[in-house]
Amino acid sequence: MAIAQPTAGVRPSRWQQMWKSVAIIFESRVATVGLAMVLFWLLIGFISLVWTPHEPNASDFIQNLPPNGTNWLGTDHLGRDITSRLMQGTQVILLKTRLPGDSEISIPGGVAIWGVIGSLVLGVTLGLNAGYRGGWWDQIIMQILDALIAFPRIVLYLVVIAALGQGDMVVILAITITGAPGVARLARSLAMDIKTRDYIRAAETRGESVRYIMFREILPNARGPLLVDAMLRVGYAIFAIGTLGFLGIGLPPPDPDWGNMVNEARRNIFSNQTAVIWPSLAIATLVIGLNLFADGLREELTRYQK
């Protein structure tokens, strides 16, 4: 959210400046609505860390109940409370990643978030090298990435998961590898534009290293578009997690995962329709929220540039 916020240097009225850069979100109605939707799910996720109406993984109720007073959204085919499961489902996506092994340790930041961070790091590094150095670097990096893009995504996911097995880290890796080519393309085009500016010439005439120019001179100015793109990618990543869950190769049970919930409820779709709808709706609103937010933000940011 701190997109236009200047980084280094201590300036007076820092808070004011930060507020100013955050305030442009509210200039756009689209971005405000998107932000509200995202914040809603974040809030649900945080609440679920400390409280859910019922134990999410316990089969305490009658199977396939329609929504009622106790189970607000009904129960699933094992008699678990859908409300609680839906709430806890946000955790793996946005809030925590379980480390491999049987240990109960998890690190903050959900699978979707880490997956996008991974593709950003990999993609930006490759893209900046291709865009700034040009020539053979560009050719080789982009040919490899293009070859990667040529594979259907699902196939790539399957390859990664078939090779490494299930697990949160594996899903993160899968998202990283499929997301990196897109990020690299964007970073490359930004680098190719920015490298024509005079301040890059100035850095070159100072004899700065290529790494310094790429990461200290070019990257901070490519920040805006990259962050907006990252926000969209979080949406895609949530989608991907849903897809993997639906195929049964996503995040491992028993903790609830929206995609998996859809898959399981699908089998009982003729007796209990609502169980399919709730997790689908959750995925849709979160992804749409992120999309709206990113779109609105991009609009405002480009307007400010003019």
Partner: protein, 698 residues
């Protein structure tokens, strides 16, 4: 004046105010502007950027955009009121009676349509003319604007003709419907000086022949002096002075006009005419205009009344001026105030050591052909010969000015010196070290001694870092200053750039163009270099700021004993500034020597043509009329022999019409102390040419 019989003016603007609606309110970009234009008259509107010149033009043609509107006042065109007219009525009027010519011809022409089709459309749509007839008209009009091979041009696309020719097409298109009013918004600003001169001649001629009223907007006082009869000076959205060109240029009454005149270099007979006095401060943005006189905060004569009361436009010996004290201000008695004190130019002893030496330096770029042979690498290699045999030396503490039109290789020359490009052949030495390779092969200590100032103020600074960080970086990188003293050093540098300590934490977007350029200079100086290369450091700035930057560079040079290589396309800027001047054409240095020698005979024929093309903001100065034909040839296949022979107006002075120029390279003729001319015409003949610029004594 335009005759005593009271003709009704073509355009009459009265008390015009234009406002733009923006977030949280509206901005009055233009206020209280009144003027009128008669038939056959060219009315100049001059002022710095952000003064509302273009907004006035847009208000007349109703192009204000979705958020702009005319707030007050009236615009009468041939007696008809334009304000409040519906869009459809205005649209018809615009196409038939009012035409507009913009700055960039490439953007005014549709790149995917043939020129002929674009031109014919004007006639077929507005006049319902048949296609053949329209084509005939267009060809006639193209011939009228001296377009060579007009019938052929009709079939071409915009990118196939040069910039000057494109602007001719746009002007021809504007004249097709024989409009009563032609609005020209900086039509020659994007063009080279020799092309500009030819287009200006054309405009002057057309306004005579077609009896069209022309409203000519420009920031260049010299251009106004050449084309227009009357002029209005705009400042911060108001018209502060208007009158005839002869009167205003001779005796400007408003302090702003006087200031403008002092800060444009005049290419007069003597060097003193090119001393520049900047106006302090900057044009206030429309949201922060002062109460009282808008020019007050920058005026040297400000009094209490100016702060409180808005002056009205009043008549003073035939000049309308918006100033309370215009009678009392005598421009000739003006002395620069303390803070604008000019740097004293001390002659650097001429026997100082040579710091930079180029011997036959060449820079060729390989061009990739498109044939199959080229693709597989068997085709004949072709080169753009960007710099050919550059030979010169620069002494320590001196300034070398390099002038020439765009595409003549000036920028490539300094890129090669600084090492952004490696040279193709030849030798370049700097302080005794070889610098013919590119920067990757250079020693850190050598890199530190060579720094550069860039042209575009908007891209010279990295938008993500503060001023202090950017100036401090070279100090840290080269270790010229211990880490804990960097801040102090940066502030010292900022102060010598006349920027205070409070600039340290600012981001580039909070600075004006001139301030950014100062920071750019400070950054170049931070590593304490011996040689600073300046790539058109002032050409993107307003004149009043330009003068300040030039004076600053001079001052800095004295303080640090820095050597400068200064690129410019404007001969008048270079004159005062440089000790030596090199004139380049198509990658070849044509003439080089002490600044005074360049601006007086003997001239190289190309220098002569350049000098006669520069617009001079003084109607009393007589300039020789030399116009180059055609455009600069391609550097891939430069003309054989002397590269200038295809356009040289002086060739015929040689036997057989200058046959030798086509076949043989000329020799360098040494005509005086360090002054060399690359021409076949004997120096004795060149010496007999009259000076290009003569001042009429009156």
């Amino acid at each position: 004046m335009t005759g005593k019989q009271k003709k009704s003016p073509v355009l009459k603007v009265e008390d015009l105010a234009v406002a733009y609606k923006v977030r949280g309110g509206e901005i009055e970009a233009v206020q209280r502007v009144s003027f009128e234009i008669n038939r056959g008259e060219t009315y100049g509107i001059v002022g710095e950027s952000g003064c509302g010149k273009s907004t006035v033009a847009w208000a007349i043609v109703n192009f204000l955009g979705a958020n702009g509107y005319v707030k007050r006042g009236s615009i009468k065109f041939q007696g008809q009121e334009l304000v409040g007219k519906s869009g459809e009525e205005l649209r018809r009027l615009r196409g038939d009676q009012i035409a507009m010519v913009y700055q960039d011809p490439m953007q005014a022409l549709n790149p995917s349509m043939r020129l002929g089709d674009q031109m014919k459309e004007v006639l077929t749509v507005h006049r319902g003319m048949a296609d053949d007839e329209a084509a005939q008209h267009c060809i006639q009009m193209l011939e009228r604007v001296y377009m060579p091979d007009a019938a052929n041009v009709m079939r071409r696309y915009p990118h196939q003709i040069s910039g000057g020719q494109q602007q001719r097409v746009v002007i021809a298109m504007a004249l097709l419907n024989n409009p009563a009013l032609l609005v020209m918004d900086e039509p020659t600003t994007a063009l080279d000086v020799t092309v500009e001169a030819a287009v200006l001649d054309l405009i002057a001629e057309l306004s005579r022949d077609f009896d069209t009223a022309i409203m000519y907007i420009t920031h260049n006082l010299g251009v106004i002096a050449r084309v227009s009869n009357r002029v209005g000076v705009m400042y911060a959205g108001e018209m502060v002075e208007r009158g005839t060109v002869a009167k205003i240029y001779k005796n400007p009454r408003h302090p702003y006009t006087q200031g403008l005149m002092r800060c444009v270099p005049k290419l007069g007979a003597d060097k003193a005419g090119s001393i520049l006095h900047p106006i302090r401060g900057r044009v206030p943005p429309p949201t922060h205009r002062p109460a009282g006189c808008v020019f007050g905060p920058r005026c040297d004569y400000i009094q209490d009344k100016c702060r409180e009361e808005r002056p009205l436009l009043r008549d003073l010996d035939g000049i309308m001026v918006r100033c309370h004290f215009a009678e009392e201000i005598i421009a000739s008695e003006w002395t620069p105030s303390e803070e604008l004190a000019l740097p004293q130019i001390e002659a650097v002893s001429s026997d100082s050591e040579t710091i930079l030496e180029l011997n036959d330096l060449k820079k060729y770029y390989e061009v990739q052909g498109s044939s199959f042979k080229d693709v597989i690498g068997l085709g004949e290699k072709r080169y753009v010969k960007a710099v050919e045999n550059a030979n010169f030396t620069v002494a320590k503490g001196k300034t070398l000015g390099v002038v020439g039109e765009s595409g003549c290789g000036k920028s490539t020359l300094i890129k090669t010196i600084i090492g952004l490009e490696g040279s193709t052949s030849g030798k370049a030495t700097f302080m005794g070290f070889d610098i013919s390779g590119d920067i990757s092969g250079r020693d850190e200590a050598l890199i530190q001694e060579l720094q550069m100032v860039f042209q575009n103020p908007d891209s010279t600074m990295n938008p993500s870092y503060t001023v202090g960080q950017q100036i401090g970086r070279p100090m840290l990188r080269f270790g010229t200053v211990p880490k804990n003293q960097v801040r102090g050093e940066v502030i010292k540098l900022l102060e010598s750039m006349r920027l205070g300590e409070n600039y340290y934490d600012r981001l580039p977007r909070q600075l004006s163009g001139g301030e950014k350029q100062r920071v750019g200079i400070a950054r170049a100086l931070a590593s304490r270099p011996n040689l600073v290369l300046c790539d058109e450091p002032v050409s993107a700035l307003d004149v009043s700021v330009q003068a300040a930057i030039l004076n600053l560079l001079l001052e800095v040079q004295q303080e640090f004993n820095t050597t400068l290589v200064f690129i410019a396309h404007d001969l008048s800027v270079v004159r005062f500034f440089s000790d030596e001047v090199a004139v380049m054409y198509l990658g070849q240095i044509m003439e080089i020597g002490p600044a005074d020698a360049i601006y007086a005979p003997p001239y190289h024929p190309y220098t002569e043509a350049l000098l006669s093309a520069v617009p001079i903001p003084d109607p009393t100065i007589q300039q020789k009329h030399i116009r180059l034909e055609g455009s600069v040839p391609s550097a891939i296949n430069p003309p054989s022999g002397c590269r200038f022979h295809t356009r040289c107006p002086r060739r015929k002075l040689l036997p057989h019409g200058g046959k030798i120029c086509e076949t043989e390279l000329p020799n360098w003729q040494i005509t005086g102390d360090g002054h060399r001319i690359f021409c076949h015409i004997p120096a004795e003949t060149l010496q007999t040419f009259d000076p290009v610029i003569t001042v009429e004594s009156d």
